[in-house]
């Protein structure tokens, strides 16, 4: 029997200072092939992973931020960003990449993947998960 589990990938670290952001994204992309009920959450410094206009030439590291835009193609369409983490960092949703997915049931209409949720709501969502992967 193959049950579908609720998987949440929790991202709490900023990109580039450490490898966790990039290597966790690699897990998400591979994991997409397993047809589980997947959600990503970004809180604390993890919200920085989604900030737009990242330019890494001078630090000599690969700019992996375009990869977030492909998540919709992998059917990863449930992305939670924590409101308080944005506010504490002086950020708003407009500072983040606009991530979308295409709903084939609605003639491939583009829909937003990101939901900004409160800490309280995120806690409830986390409690519902079967598997939580932290990096």
């Amino acid at each position: 029997m193959s049950e579908i589990k609720k998987f949440m990938y929790v991202n709490r670290k900023a990109p580039y200072g450490t490898i966790y952001a990039w290597e966790s994204l690699e897990v998400v992309l591979i994991g997409a092939a397993f047809d589980q009920d997947v959600a990503l959450s970004f809180l604390d410094d993890g919200v920085y992973q989604l900030v737009k206009n990242q330019s890494t030439e001078q630090i000599g590291m690969k700019n992996f931020s375009p990869t977030y835009r492909t998540l919709g193609d992998y059917d990863i369409k449930t992305i939670y960003v924590e409101k308080e983490s944005l506010e504490e960092r002086g950020l708003s949703i407009d500072d983040l990449q606009h991530l979308i997915w295409e709903d084939e049931d609605e003639d491939w209409a583009e829909k937003d993947s990101i939901s900004v949720v409160s800490r309280e709501e995120l806690g409830k969502l986390m409690e519902q998960q079967d598997v939580v992967l932290s990096f």
Partner: protein, 101 residues
Amino acid sequence: MSMLHTVNKSPFNHDSLSSCLKCAQAGSTVLLIEDGVYAAREGTKFSNEVKDAMKNIKVVALAPDLDARGVNNNLIDGVEQVDYAGFVSLAAESHSVQSWL
């Protein structure tokens, strides 16, 4: 069955404990391990935050980590201790486990 949360960082230099306590739902358990055990002590700037959280969640500390750091004393009243077998039990009895790294 509720979630087991583990916190392995000291609250004095990381926000993992605070973030965990804000997300942990009533009825869940927070297990302090590794450097996270420093949060179990009375008389720190985090003691009230922990005590407040304990109104709705259970806070447990991993005894081997308290002993290793010489801080298995003056703990917040009500914080339970477990050994590694107890850690396993807590994980077995929970629906899922989330690590706050």
